[in-house]
């Protein structure tokens, strides 16, 4: 008999709570990936100043500026939804969790547009100065 146990993922309605949880997971995984990459990049310092400078030149290319806009999204989302989860766990906010989510997301959107805008501006500036988009 076919396994129908997980058909909730495709048939249950994606309400605020389930969507927020899935995004929390995905941004969490992205952050773990980023931290690993970050430690690896910074560890090039062990190989001497030249190697470090060369690595830093790669990761400050416009491509990475754009990726950082995505990183900023993950950080902001994960932090703000984390606040919501703390509110649910410690301040009995379950009944208000959905408006709380949208309120926090409004704050997050402002932060993201603000910070992301600065990053994109910087990348465009680099491209304008003739830096190649891909560092490799």
């Amino acid at each position: 008999m076919p396994s129908l146990r997980t058909r909730g993922f495709t048939h249950y309605r994606w309400q605020t709570g389930m969507t927020a949880w899935m995004l929390h997971r995905l941004t969490g995984l992205a952050l773990v990936f980023y931290i690993t990459l970050h430690i690896w990049v910074v560890s090039s310092l062990q190989l001497g100043p030249e190697t470090f400078e060369a690595t830093m030149a790669v990761v400050s290319a416009p491509l990475f500026r754009f990726l950082e806009v995505g990183l900023l999204f993950c950080v902001i989302y994960h932090a703000l939804n984390g606040i919501r989860l703390i509110a649910i766990d410690f301040f009995g906010a379950t009944e208000k969790h959905a408006p709380l989510f949208y309120g926090l997301m409004a704050v997050g959107a402002i932060l993201w547009i603000w910070g992301g805008g600065t990053m994109v501006g910087h990348a465009l500036h680099q491209l304008h100065a003739g830096e190649p988009f891909f560092p490799f």
Binding site: R5, F9, Y12, Q15, G17, I88, D89
Partner: protein, 234 residues
């Protein structure tokens, strides 16, 4: 009378390879619930449709199913409140399907048994009942009103991926006894709760809270129980 369309999940594991949906056009009376529609189909149009029901007034918990993507009681859900057409009816997700809308609820009852859902108190019984003050009673909140319909457990993604997870209904029961001032059984329940299929699998997704037809709040009960267990362990 208004004509409404119902798309109903059909699956007979003895004859079908895959589940499918069957569409029914029904003349709906103004005050009909989903259960009235299912009865209309079974009694007058298609006797092969299988589903569970008993009390038909929201107290036995037999008729929980997924309607338009959210778990609810078929006998409480009024057709008039639903604008969307067709109305899609599915069995409770997360359980093995016996036939059509009837699922195997064994894992649900197994989980319930693991939390020992009865009063544990070895003190000699007083000559009359064990009294509680209003304030002590209030600690349990409305958790005593659970009808064990499984709408919550079946709506929980943690349960979909781990069929041994206690799930919100069993955890709400554990909360109900742990926060009952007459109960002394936490040390007998803690093993089932503080375990990889227990309390810590709750990620505060809140599907249980939105699904519960009795407006109970298993999410909050689990948070309180988690705090209690941490305090107990420290």
């Amino acid at each position: 009378m208004a004509k409404r369309t119902f798309k109903i999940f059909r699956f007979n594991p003895e004859t079908d390879e895959k589940p499918s949906y069957k569409t029914y056009e029904i003349d709906v009376q103004p005050a009909w619930t989903i259960l009235d529609v299912l009865n209309e189909i079974k009694w007058f149009q298609d006797g092969t449709l299988t589903y569970r029901r008993s009390c038909r007034h929201g107290i036995c918990g037999s008729c929980a199913m997924m309607v338009n993507g959210i778990n609810n009681l078929a006998c409480e859900l009024q057709i008039a409140t639903m604008k969307k057409d067709p109305i899609v009816i599915d069995p409770l997700p997360g359980f093995e399907i016996y036939k059509d809308l009837a699922v195997n609820m064994d894992p649900f009852y197994e989980a319930l048994k693991r939390v020992k859902p009865w009063l544990i108190n070895n003190d000699p019984a007083p000559s009359r009942e064990r009294l509680q003050s209003q304030e002590e009673f209030a600690l349990m909140g409305n958790s005593i009103a659970c009808i064990l319909c499984a709408a919550c457990t079946s709506s929980c993604p943690s349960f979909w991926t781990d069929g041994e997870y206690l799930g919100p209904a069993a955890l709400l029961k554990a909360f109900r006894y742990t926060f009952d001032t007459r109960d002394h059984g936490l040390d007998q329940r803690i093993e089932a709760l503080d375990n990889k299929h227990g309390l810590w699998r709750c990620h505060k997704i809140t599907n249980c809270f939105t699904a519960c037809p009795k407006n109970l709040n298993p999410t909050e009960a689990i948070s309180k129980l988690q705090k209690r267990i941490v305090e107990e362990k420290l």
